[in-house]
């Protein structure tokens, strides 16, 4: 099965406003690709363009050698001929058809003979564990069941590309957790290429094989989830991925306080150039005896927020407030002064892009 290729895809509505700007993206065959970003970043538009429900104003979309959209060459394949699957955020089950009829619809359109249709619909419903509700109508199902039927409806036609538009956002927390595991399993069983749209970074990190972060219609970073977490390509990705978010301290022309302390440290560690901002992830801030190479500073504890398995601590370090996330109990009270340290700093240039030269320098040091 082939890759999905988007090259120089743009989409604008009427005037100059671009929903998607010059997007280049390759979804490898068999990948579970997550399009991640805040609402309005163009991720759903991108998904709908792949499905053919919206048309790009420029660029080419292809699956393997098959060009689906090419504005420049005037090529277009309508959604009904693309043979993809799409699960909508609101499921979009047809209320006048039973669950079975909903799932059989796509097979009927493909002129699959009745006995086979029946068998495949049942198999798809079994796969998502709603085969017991086969003869009911969508309005008689719970939200989670409707979600599964919507999924089964697409799985029944066995599409090589499955598109999911925030399919979990209308479920409650427990169901969402369950469906995440379920989707991962379905991905492995069906072998389909999945493109998944979400604004929930946790969803992206837990399920995807590849994450594409978008903002303002532009691709910010495309990487494997853990790579993205460890090495965010720019300040936007760094602040969007991770919870609580990474703190980024601006380094001005004459840095004082925390910024000054951080700058002195990275310069002493051989930073190749002066950074515009230094980022610290909350879980990278530790307490206790620091290793020799780590940055360290005295911190005043302002509040301790225990959450069962983790402890969030609000700290005042020099002139700044930072959050630290610890997975071991923090024995401190407000007013205490602790030594905190970290050996994982993220350096961003004045343009906001990650200073990749620092990564190399840090490893060497």
């Amino acid at each position: 099965m082939p890759n999905i290729t988007l090259s120089a895809v743009s989409k604008s509505y009427g005037g100059g406003d671009h929903a998607v700007k010059n997007l280049d993206l390759v979804v490898p065959d068999g990948a579970f690709m997550c399009l991640l970003g805040p609402s309005g970043c163009g991720k759903t538009t991108t998904l709908r363009m792949i499905a053919g429900l919206e048309q790009p104003t420029g660029g080419t979309i292809a699956v393997g050698d098959r060009v689906l959209d090419c504005v420049e060459r005037g090529l277009y394949v309508p959604p009904e001929k693309r043979g993809m699957g799409l699960v909508f955020q609101n499921y979009a089950l047809w209320p006048h058809l039973s669950v079975r009829e909903n799932v059989e619809f796509g097979l009927r359109m493909r002129k699959v003979p009745a006995p086979e249709r029946r068998a495949r619909a049942e198999a798809a419903l079994k796969m998502v564990h709603v085969d017991a509700a086969m003869d009911r109508y969508p309005s008689q199902l719970s939200g989670g069941q409707q979600q599964r039927v919507a999924l089964a409806r697409m799985l029944a036609v066995n599409p090589s590309v499955l598109l999911l538009d925030e399919p979990l956002s209308n479920l409650d927390a427990r169901l969402r957790l369950e469906m995440r595991a379920e989707l991962k399993r379905i991905h492995e069983e069906s072998g389909a290429t999945i493109v998944f749209v979400t604004h929930d970074q946790l969803e992206a990190l837990t399920m995807a094989t590849d994450v594409a972060v978008m903002s303002d219609g532009e691709l910010q970073q495309l990487a494997a989830p853990m790579d993205m977490y460890a090495r965010p390509a720019n300040r936007f990705v760094a602040e969007f991925v991770g919870s609580p978010p990474m703190a980024i301290v601006d380094v001005g022309p004459s840095p004082a306080g925390l910024a000054g302390s951080l700058l002195r440290h990275v310069e002493s560690r051989g930073a190749p150039e002066r950074p515009g901002g230094v980022g610290i992830r909350p879980e990278a801030l530790r307490f206790g005896a620091p290793p020799a190479s780590a940055w360290r500073e005295e911190a005043l504890v302002e509040a301790v927020l225990p959450a069962g398995s983790s402890w969030t601590v609000r700290l005042r370090i020099l002139d700044a407030e930072l959050y630290a996330l610890s997975y071991t109990p923090v024995e401190a009270a407000p007013g205490d002064v602790l030594t905190c340290w970290t050996d994982q700093l993220h350096l961003f240039g004045a343009d906001g892009a990650r200073m990749s030269s620092w990564d190399a320098a840090e490893v060497r040091a």
Partner: protein, 608 residues
């Protein structure tokens, strides 16, 4: 592993290439084409008649060359002069205008008083039997508006207009002209027909007022009376103003009642004046009057919309604290009940029983002359134009069949067109077409029916281009009736499609369904319910419709309503009453059946 490549932004593709792509897309998605067809058809059916009537008002018609001193077809102000400034303009225009204003104001006040009072009674008090009353008091609106005028004539008619006299006159009580004909009876009978309208609008608003708003005022120390004056009434203003303007708008376009009760005493209003001008073949004058009616109608609706918009800023009706507690009338409970019963009796029982009894007696309501002849007799002596009982002979059956056929077809066209308009609007692939469709399908709402009929007559009476003269064809009746009901059906079509959203269709598209398959298997089946109501509501209102069709029917295309008016013209009281009773029965049964089946309230069908 995913691959990320950064390239310089390429120049936007050349316009021609983009056009090729757009056309490819359009070929696979007929929505835009469908929208375009609808635009052309609606523009022709809605906009073209208005243009035609306007041009008729300013072009010299055949036959007026001598008076105007111009050639036919030339631009002229002759008709403007004739209608507004000439010696007969008083008769043609100013007097009917004044009468229209008098009738409109009188009817509105009467309806407001009756409807408002009853609304308060059934929504805010513990009057006995209020649930029943709320339903029963709406019945007058289900009857054709001129039912009441025929009942009035049956009771009060004097010898002035020929034919049989009314009940009172037959009993030896002389009924003066002012009681038998003209402003007073028109105001009373129209008021009796339109007060349910006020009742529904105001009642709904009263029901939705948040009780917390009143409670807050009470807690702050306002006495009951102040609460009503300072809180309730201001909150009711939008509903009240809406009710007023809509009643005025409807009175402006109503034809049957002023025709039956006004003309015998030469009491003319704009609608009957327009009708007479058309009957007199003075097309130019008729076009000017029609244009004036259109302008007034448009002004009324715009005023209403504007007021609504202004009110919306502070109106906080709705929400959870809806009023459910009822004021205790204490010792006024039973008198209030009696009042409600009197209103019910006067607006439903008396007119219907009068009509029924009149058809069963030779001398109206004289029980010693009981007979079934007017319904069943093979031969009726004395009635030359209709020499047998209504259920004998072919006239009524043919008219009924015409009504069902014409109104039915119009309603089906209307419902399907409404849903298609909704489809194009919601699909959103052609935003400009959608916006135009929305507006143009709403346009007939602004235009009183009789004026729109006159406009359609201007356009279709003669052959224009490839379109043959349609006057006298059932086709024209179907078209005009469908177009005048389009605002309601397109509004409900848009609402139904909005509620559905585009996703169910998109899901089918993804599943591989072609446009036809999507329409046939997804959209229309899901919208079956909306489609049924979309057919039934225009059907009911079309069955009672007179103002729109009265100018368009000919001998071959007689409808029940026009047949009944024709019988009034002949002076066959009993026969005319019998036909109206048939219409009333049909419309009442269908309305209550629909309400029961769809659980929809009549209010939503009023378009108010």
């Amino acid at each position: 592993m995913a691959v990320l490549t950064k390239t310089e932004p390429p120049p936007p593709p050349p316009k021609r290439r983009r056009m090729v792509y757009r056309l490819r897309v359009l070929r696979h998605d007929p929505t835009a084409a469908l929208g375009l067809i609808l635009v052309v058809v609606l523009a022709y059916l809605v906009v073209a008649p208005l243009v035609a009537v306007l041009s008729d008002a300013f072009r010299l018609q055949f036959g007026d060359e001598v008076h105007a001193g111009q050639q036919p077809g030339e631009w002229t102000g002759y008709y403007l002069w004739r209608v507004f400034r000439s010696q007969i303009s008083g008769l043609l225009f100013w007097e009917p205008l004044l009468n229209t204003v008098v009738v409109a104001v009188g009817t509105t006040l009467f309806a407001l008083l009756l409807g408002g009072g009853m609304a308060w009674l059934v929504t805010r008090t513990n009057v006995p039997g209020r649930k029943w009353m709320a339903g029963a008091l709406v019945i007058p609106y289900m009857l054709p508006s001129w039912t009441f005028s025929l009942a009035w004539l049956t009771l009060f008619k004097n010898e002035r207009s020929g034919g049989q006299v009314g009940f009172l006159q037959a009993q030896g009580v002389r009924t003066p002209d002012w009681l038998a004909y003209g402003a007073l009876p028109i105001i009373v009978t129209l008021g009796l027909h339109y007060y349910p309208f006020v009742l529904l609008l105001v009642g709904n608003a009263l029901r939705r007022i948040d009780a917390q708003l009143e409670d807050s005022a009470r807690i702050l120390g306002a006495p009951r009376r102040t609460v009503i004056r300072r809180i309730v009434v201001p909150l009711m203003l939008p509903a009240l103003s809406s009710a007023v303007l809509l009643v005025v708008g409807r009175v402006l376009g109503t034809f049957g009642t002023p025709y039956v009760l006004g003309l015998p005493a030469d009491y003319r209003v704009l609608s009957t004046g327009l009708y007479q001008s058309i009957r007199d073949r003075s097309t130019g004058v008729a076009s000017v009057i029609a244009t004036v009616i259109v302008i007034i109608g448009v002004l009324i609706v715009f005023t209403d919309m504007r007021l609504m918009r202004e009110h919306r800023r502070f109106v906080t009706v709705g929400g959870k604290g809806a009023m459910d507690r009822l004021g205790d009338l204490r010792r006024w409970r039973w008198p209030a009940f009696a009042l409600g019963m009197v209103v019910f009796a006067v607006s439903v029982l008396v007119p219907v029983l009068t009509l029924l009894l009149s058809t069963l007696t030779r001398t109206p309501l004289d029980l010693s002359t009981l007979t079934l002849d007017y319904w069943f007799a093979e031969r009726l002596p004395g009635a030359v134009g209709f020499p047998h009982g209504v259920l004998r002979g072919s006239e009524v059956w043919e008219a009924a069949w015409n009504s069902v056929r014409i109104v039915g077809l119009a309603s089906i066209i209307c419902a399907v067109a409404g849903l298609l308009v909704g489809y194009v609007v919601v699909r959103g692939t052609a935003p400009r077409i959608a916006a135009f469709l929305r507006q143009v399908s709403f346009l007939p709402y602004l235009i009183p029916g009789i004026a729109f009929a006159a406009a359609s007559l201007s356009l279709f009476a003669v052959a224009r281009g490839p379109v043959p003269a349609l006057y006298g064809t059932t086709f024209l009746l179907i078209l005009v009736m469908a177009v005048t009901h389009l605002p309601y059906s397109s509004r409900s079509g848009i609402a139904a499609m909005m509620q559905l959203g585009r996703e169910p269709e998109e899901a089918a598209q993804i599943a591989g369904a072609s446009w036809w398959q999507r329409m046939r298997r997804i959209i229309f089946p899901i919208q079956r319910g909306a489609l049924v109501t979309g057919v039934v509501l225009p059907f009911i209102s079309g069955l009672k419709e007179l103002s729109i069709v009265v100018m368009l029917t000919t001998t071959g295309t007689e409808l029940l309503t026009t047949l009944s008016i024709g019988l009034v013209d002949y002076g066959y009281t009993q026969l005319a009453n019998a036909v109206v009773l048939i219409i009333a029965l049909l419309s009442f049964t269908m309305t209550s059946l629909t309400q029961r089946l769809t659980k929809s309230s009549l209010a939503s069908g009023l378009g108010g």
